[in-house]
Amino acid sequence: MQIDLAVKDVSKTFDDFVAVDNISFEVADGSFFSILGPSGCGKTTLLRMIAGLTEPSAGTIEIRGKSMHGIPPNKRPVNLIFQHLALFPMMNVGENIAFGLCRRGDDKATIKNKVKTILERVELTGFDDKKVDQLSGGQKQRVAIARCLVLEPAVLLLDEPLGALDLKLREQMKVELKKLQAKVGTTFVYITHDQSEALVMSDHVAVMNQGIFEQIDTPQNLYNSPDTPFVAQFVGDNNTWSGQIRHCDQKTAEVETTDDRVFRTKIRQQLQPGDEVDLFLRPEAMLIQPDANLANLNRFEVIVKDLLFDGANSRLLANPLDADTELLIALPQTHQYDYIQKNDKVEIGWDEQSGICFPREGQGSKVPGSALSSLGLRPSGFDPTRRRGKQG
């Protein structure tokens, strides 16, 4: 497997602010790699350093094995799709797409052919003479992608290009982008703050927070076994309890929560009785009125406070009996639970395998790296103690 992009120990500091803190990762040829993080986490800075628009303070960036140090953006085999696309309004669609080819000095006939081919590929045949402002949001998107892809870059960088689109179109473009990437086989590096974009499209996702990578993994692993509390909370929804370990063995622990409930949950790292922990649980991990025969369930009763209807994503907002912890519980729209009303008392159960337990922030922790090393990916720059030091 060829490595298209290798980022090695890259840092970027602005005055005394560390935007990107010693990050390393590799992206394999033809894969779709996403960097997911909240705004201000440094992901745009990282992308701009790969494109060459910003110089890293330290570290090296290699594209197809060649160091990019000192090479200006117009000489790099990468292209960037900007957040607001940056199509040239003074040119028509054809001229926009031909722009890079003309700079390279291709002859007229070749340029014309390539523009035609790429327009076909993004399903905009015959749009050559259209003005940029005559295009719809989705069409502009595709022109911006075509303008970069026609140059056949080693890596295509995308800076939240779907951010400006309305929801319906965004959902549609997500699938289209994924399909397009599979079709052309170019390596995509995509940054976004929208976890669903990252999860749907990517082969691998890096979750970034405050200048470092918290975890690099497949979307499935990020969701099902997050490495850090930040990933657990940022990727998907989670219910959170604080609590203390009562008993524990190698694989499971009994946690007494602050609202006086006792749950059994699997654990992934060594914990001692008495340790303060945070317990995370996905809304869909909680079963409503579970079958009495199911074993290994943590069962408890809740009072339904509200029904949050959102189609397939509907939830119950509930409090455990005699406590004011707010819980979100997935409410499958199978008509099976139509009888549930506000203020009803409902039994809830969850399997001890679905709990995610982390030592409370502020206590020392070691996050296992086994899941990562098996992928050949390395979340460098990850050191929870240092990150917390920066927060404090």
Binding site: P73, A86, F88
Partner: protein, 285 residues
Amino acid sequence: MTSHKRWGLFFFLAPVVLWLFVMIVLPHIDLLVMSFRFENDEGQMQWSLNNYLAFFEEPIYWLTFVRTAIYSILVTFLTFVIALPLAFYITKVVNPKYQGFLLVLLLLPFWVSELVRVYGWMILLRESGVINHFLLKAGILRQPIEMLYRDSTMILGLVYTSMLFMVVPIVSVLDSLDNSLIEAAYDLGANMWTILFKIIIPHASPGIMSGSIVVFMLTLGNYLTPNLMGGKNSLWFTEQIYNQFIASFNWNQGSAFGFLLLVLSSIVVWLGLKLTRQNLKKVVQ
């Protein structure tokens, strides 16, 4: 309601219309009429084209006219060449904190009247002036040279006087240029010159055009700077008009010259707009 609106419109528009009519339209009609009147041998005024014919028959008149037109275009171009990088620096390069400060610096010389500014240049440039003094002191010159009363000096003065009127409109169009367009072009393989000619100038063209129109018209109609800095050799057409009105007391001939200048500036502006494929509406915005 509608009658209210109409009254409001009338109320606010009246001073403008009145001003335009009394101060601009009426005098121009008077001048136009005058330019077609000619005193015959018996000392009677009559309608005639003689004033316009005189312009074409006397080479000094139309040569001055052409010279003024060409130099005005040159001044406009030079002003643009200096103003564009300046405006780019102010809008895109410098820290936004200092942007206002730099614009005020540009504006500052205009708090002083043009006359004083031109005299300032004269103090610097004349034979016994500041620059000659320092060049002599430094041993670069053995004899002082007269830097005033040359075409180049006159152009320098005209460019200096016009600078602000070019920089301000270009600054305002460049402000609206999205930085990511420049970065996108750079990312797609363009070098500095391609970015300048393919992205920056096309985007800035309405501002460049409106700046050019203002600078061209101001330069063409300038009397003070050519007269003081170019001296007798300046041969600026406004001086011919002045001579007809004041020296020869031939108001009819002067009016004809004035109208010829008006026609010239209109034609050049129209040509400029046509050549750059723009319309006046977009440019004056």
